[in-house]
């Protein structure tokens, strides 16, 4: 039986417009060595991959209690590459006077704010995360969440944070009327549990990067394009942790009916 899909994907030639990577970081990862996670290398990788720029976070900050110092490092490190790399600092909303740090970041014209609820021990219904989401909307910046950094099967025994739960994403997305929420490195299950657990209006503000969604033979990316629409997705690589070639390969292997589908364009936000 033919399935009825809510979204018909328009046929388009392969995209030639500028594409940015919204899921990149600089800095080392605490649980394994990562080769040269430096901004100048990232700029070269983006050029090789045909990407016009990246939203860049500071990887170690996800594991720090207070991310303030990491934000300073991030801003300083990206200064020389401001034409390609845009800093996405990290704000911890359960920290005293976080609003001051948030305002300082917004003043620097950042496109988005990163937050890591599992790494900070914030539960799925945490009120401070809703406050941060609201502040992002009021300031006109996106909120970037990360579902995971590594495959669950390979985690270091000290890495007990767990994946970002779909419930935690719904927590910030429900009732949201103006904040764009970008979730990195989620898989099909988390995406579907969130998307279909929101109203149509709430869904329109949630975006997913394609760095961790499977292609053929399961063809989960194609299925999600058909069911919830390619415009709900953005380009992300998870550099420096994962191969930047992966999302490019995934798009190249899409079946004909969804090949060339246009993703959302965060550079226009």
């Amino acid at each position: 039986m033919r399935r009825a899909f809510s979204h018909r994907v328009r046929f388009r030639p392969p995209a030639r417009r500028a594409v940015i990577d919204i899921n990149a970081c600089i800095g080392q990862y605490p649980y394994r060595h990562v080769p040269h996670p430096d901004p100048d290398v990232l700029v070269r990788v983006l050029a090789r991959e045909g990407l016009s720029g990246a939203w860049v976070g500071h990887l170690p900050s996800a594991f720090h209690r207070d991310p303030s110092a990491g934000n300073d490092v991030l801003f300083a490190a990206l200064e020389a590459h401001a034409d390609r790399l845009r800093a996405v600092p990290c704000i911890r909303p359960d920290w005293p006077n976080w609003e001051r740090a948030f305002a300082s970041c917004v003043d620097r014209r950042v496109p988005a704010i990163r937050a890591y609820p599992p790494q900070w021990g914030l539960g799925a219904d945490d009120a401070s995360m809703r406050a941060l989401a609201a502040a992002c909307g009021a300031a006109g910046v996106a909120l970037v969440l990360t579902a995971r950094f590594e495959d669950l099967r390979q985690r270091h025994w000290m890495d007990q944070a767990g994946d970002l739960a779909a419930a935690a994403i719904r927590n910030v997305a429900r009732g949201n009327t103006r904040t764009r929420i970008v979730v990195c490195a989620a898989g099909r299950g988390t995406i579907e549990e969130t998307h279909w657990g929101l109203t149509p209006e709430e869904r329109e503000l949630v975006f997913w990067d394609i760095s961790w969604i499977w292609g053929p033979p399961e063809d989960e990316l194609a299925m999600l394009f058909r069911t919830i629409g390619a415009q709900r997705f953005v380009y992300g690589t998870a550099w420096p942790l994962r191969l930047t070639q992966t999302p490019r390969a995934n798009l190249a292997l899409l079946p004909d009916d969804v090949a060339g589908a246009a993703l959302a364009d965060p550079s226009a936000w």
């Binding site: 080769p35 399961e218 070639q245 292997l253």
Partner: protein, 285 residues
Amino acid sequence: MTPAAAPLAGPGPLIDVHAHFFFADCGRAEWDSLNRARFRAGDRIGITYHVASILGSWGRWSPTYFASPADTTLGNDAMQAIATHHEDCVRWYVAVNPNDTRHALAEIDRRVEGGAIGVKLAAARRADDPLLDPIAERAGAGGLPILHHIWQHRRRHWPSQDASDGVDLARLAARHPTVSFILAHIGGGGDYAHTFAAVRDVPNVYLDLSGSGVDRGMLDDAYAAVGAHRLLWGADITLCTGLAKLWALEVIGLTSDELADVRWRNASRIFPPGAFPPTSPPRRD
């Protein structure tokens, strides 16, 4: 071939040493579309040969990693039928459960007659268990490589399998130095860095690059540990990550000769002679 249809992985032979297929009795209603998707993506990537196995009924009638003799036979029947139907681009492993030695050896003998070119062992017994010795001996006698399912660094018990790691497989490989062992999916879960240390000095263990894991540094470290002559390309059940790794191999410093080793020449060397004749582009029906 028109430029638009040029293989995404570039010209030249390409052998996927770790593929799987499904069949009507395996309990997945979409079995046929999964197989078609593999062929579609394989053609797009430029895979010359899928070397595949089917593990029993994929859990429908007995557990995937502890398949009953009847299920093992059922899966091998299905695999043989697919390979026969797609002779142009499919080669196959006979899958066996080492707990039933007599059945396992009989399956190997019968399926080699039917065209199998390797043996697939999963996780019904640890790799260093003596029950694997007669299977390794039979594989050695027939010049068949053994593809062994591996959990990279087994630090605890994982449900539904008696998984082995690189250390376990290295012990088996040391007992059978003339047999080629393919250590499955370094990107398939666990700590691959432990695996590289475990097999670096075991020359008859080859690393299969398949699995969903695409960590930066993994390919570089595998290459540094065992060299290009002991790496084999494969995709397992995520062809997108397989293609990404092929593209990544091109930028981490392998020479074109070394790339050819990983893409197909190493496989040609360890599988029986004549297993992979040169082909023209496949036709699908």
